[in-house]
């Protein structure tokens, strides 16, 4: 929508409709990479970065496809371009910062196949955001993803030290934690909308 202010777009993407906790995008890495604060932080930053890249590429592709009247190729083009971009970034990091690569290592390919990245591209198109709005949307989504990941990792690290019953260890507990976080994030509903 044309009318939405940048601040609202950011807040909406970051907390109100948080990609992980409200829209269910990027759950696999959210569950997989949230065991340690440090990795969570790295993963969050990597995702934020890739989201920006993908948002810009998606904006460009969308423009090109609209010009050529080939909208039905949108999905293929988005995913192909994003995947290639991520792979480039991966090689780049591997070459120039092996230490960064080791800490982000496996995540980069994970991000390629992460619904959050593609979802971002599709949503920004569906919402007909202009360039600036798209970038802010990507920023918000990335920040929201990082926030969710960080909170989750903090809780999981804390529970590392707990005497968690055998039954609830592992994935089940992660999901319940995610549920609790999601429940708490419901408090943000309607934030920034004009009420009253």
């Amino acid at each position: 929508m044309q009318g939405e202010s940048l601040g609202f777009i950011f807040l909406n993407a970051a907390v109100v409709n948080n990609f992980v906790l409200a829209l269910f995008l990027g759950i696999c890495p959210f569950l997989g990479v949230s065991a340690k604060k440090e990795t969570a932080w790295n993963m969050g930053l990597a995702t934020l970065f890739v989201m920006l890249v993908s948002s810009v590429s998606a904006y460009g592709i969308n423009w090109l496809l609209t010009e050529l009247d080939l909208m039905f190729l949108r999905l293929i083009c988005y995913i192909a371009v994003i995947a290639s971009a991520v792979q480039l970034v991966e090689m780049f990091i591997k070459k120039f910062s092996p230490s960064l690569f080791r800490s982000l290592g496996i995540f980069l390919p994970l991000i390629t196949t992460n619904c959050a990245i593609l979802g971002l591209a599709l949503f920004q198109t569906a919402k007909e955001y202009d360039f600036l709005q798209s970038v802010v949307y990507a920023l918000g989504a990335g920040v929201g993803f990082t926030l969710a990941l960080l909170l989750m990792s903090g809780l999981r690290e804390k529970l590392e030290l707990a005497e968690v019953p055998a039954v609830s260890q592992g994935a089940a507990m992660s999901l319940m934690l995610a549920g609790l976080l999601s429940l708490a994030f419901m408090g943000f509903a309607g934030l920034g909308g004009s009420h009253g």
């Binding site: 590392e160 030290l161 707990a162 005497e163």
Partner: protein, 452 residues
């Protein structure tokens, strides 16, 4: 504003943490120092101090005279031993210690006939000696810290030239509950104490000496102040009565407002800290040229019939001492040192050593001995509030339960913990935090790889 605050906080203290358990000092604080009979057998462990154990100079069967050197220092950080009583060397053998492992000790069969006079003395004018000679004299006297750590006193005197000692702190806090021996020493041996201070100032070149005394012993403060000129280099200060005010790190912060850098020594601030008992002994022994053969020990606790402050020959077995003062029938726990940091002994054969400042005896069923339910840490943050080293015992405790000893050291400064026990004292979940930390430190010491 500051003045208003000072109304509430009359005396200086350290910046963070600390506790104030009941003192239990009133039973013995007023009792003058007394002697007890000699035990029939006296046991002098060769390792009573920090550093290398002493080497025996005597053989089994040999007769020794009270005050005679029976073991020599083995290197710089080590001190000699002197015979605490006249008698015959019955054995040099493994003997139980308070720490646990049996260790070599010289056993003296005390001669009941002897008058136990000290015959080994070479009076000297200490203040006329050179600093090097004083250091040697202190070492020859077998002096170690009587405040508990039993660190050889001469080592602290011999400061390296690049780190000269400017300030001397004399620790008269005696912050442990029950203990009153330092209190009595300050009252009864004031002159010896002041003489000891002058010796150390002379030896180190320190230009001032501050005596810190907790404000629950104002009579001692007055007794010392009465003997001091107003503007001399030696001054006495009352500090807030709060455990562990007597820990040297806390006392330095209270009196000088500075903190010892992490991993550093008082020396890094140009400071040396001595216990009042140590300096009183120094002031007494050095002029006579004698060795350390006895010390003042507070014997107290709910299960002691005649509590008091006793001048005890080093090496007296704890069991004998308790016979003399009388112990309750239900007595079942004997602590060497104070109740906050002292060690329980597994055998009453363990002797009193140079570092033992008190013996506290509990009986089965005393309130502090009740078994308590241990709950999980409820993150109440009390331990964080009381830790004088500003650590996070809650986190450390949780990590210890998961055996994450490396993380304890690397992320949470485990080695800064000096095991004062404040955290375990306050923990409402009754978690044995301090014990966890001792275990963790022991393991980290042994397997440095864990700590990577």
């Amino acid at each position: 504003m500051m003045r208003l605050l000072n109304l509430f906080r009359r005396h200086k203290t350290f910046s963070h943490g600390g506790i104030h358990p009941l003192e239990y000092k009133e039973r013995t604080a007023g009792l003058a120092i007394r002697r007890l009979p000699f035990a029939p057998r006296i046991v002098v462990p060769l390792a009573q101090h920090k550093g290398a154990p002493a080497v025996p100079l005597v053989t089994v069967g040999q007769q020794v005279v009270r005050g005679e050197p029976i073991a020599g220092a083995d290197g710089h950080v080590s001190v000699p031993m002197h015979a605490p009583a006249t008698g015959r060397i019955a054995a040099i053998d493994l003997w139980p210690t308070a720490e646990g492992p049996k260790a070599p000790a010289i056993v003296i069969e005390v001669s009941q006939a002897a008058n136990q006079a000290v015959l080994y003395d070479e009076p000297v004018d200490v203040l006329a000696l050179s600093p090097e000679e004083i250091v040697q004299a202190v070492k020859d006297a077998g002096l170690v810290g009587l405040g508990g750590a039993a660190f050889p006193s001469h080592v602290k005197l011999a400061a390296p030239p690049d780190k000269p000692i400017r300030t001397l702190l004399i620790n008269g806090c005696e912050c442990e509950p029950y203990l009153t021996c330092d209190h009595r020493v300050m009252l009864e041996k004031t002159d010896a104490l002041l003489h000891g201070i002058r010796i150390v100032m002379h030896a180190t070149g320190a230009d001032r000496a501050l005596i810190g005394v907790e404000d629950n012993k104002m009579d001692a403060v007055r007794a010392i102040a009465d003997k001091l000129p107003d503007d001399g280099p030696i001054s006495v200060h009352a500090v807030e009565a709060k455990y562990p005010q007597g820990a040297e790190k806390m006392l330095i912060e209270s009196l000088l407002g500075e903190q010892i850098p992490e991993g550093g020594l008082p020396l890094d601030l140009g400071v040396a800290v001595y216990n009042v008992g140590t300096l009183a002994q120094m002031g007494e022994l050095l002029p006579l040229g004698r060795g350390l053969i006895e010390r003042v020990v507070t014997v107290s606790g709910p299960a002691v019939v005649h509590p008091g402050n006793y001048l005890v020959p080093i090496g007296t077995p704890v069991g004998f001492l308790l016979q003399q003062v009388g112990a309750d029938a239900a007595a079942n726990e004997v602590i060497l040192g104070g109740p906050m940091m002292g060690m329980t002994v597994a055998s009453l054969d363990v002797p009193v050593t140079k570092g033992v400042s008190g013996i506290v005896v509990y009986a089965a069923g005393d309130a502090d001995q009740q078994p308590r339910t241990v709950y999980p840490c409820i993150k109440c943050s009390r331990c964080v509030e009381v830790c004088p080293m500003h650590l996070n015992p809650s986190m450390l405790g949780q990590l210890a339960q998961k055996r994450e000893y490396g993380r304890m050291e690397h992320e949470h400064h485990l080695s800064q913990c000096f095991e004062c026990g404040c955290c375990a004292y306050v923990c409402p979940s009754n978690i044995p935090l301090t014990q966890y930390f001792r275990i963790a430190k022991a393991i980290n010491r042994e397997t440095p790889t864990v700590a990577v």
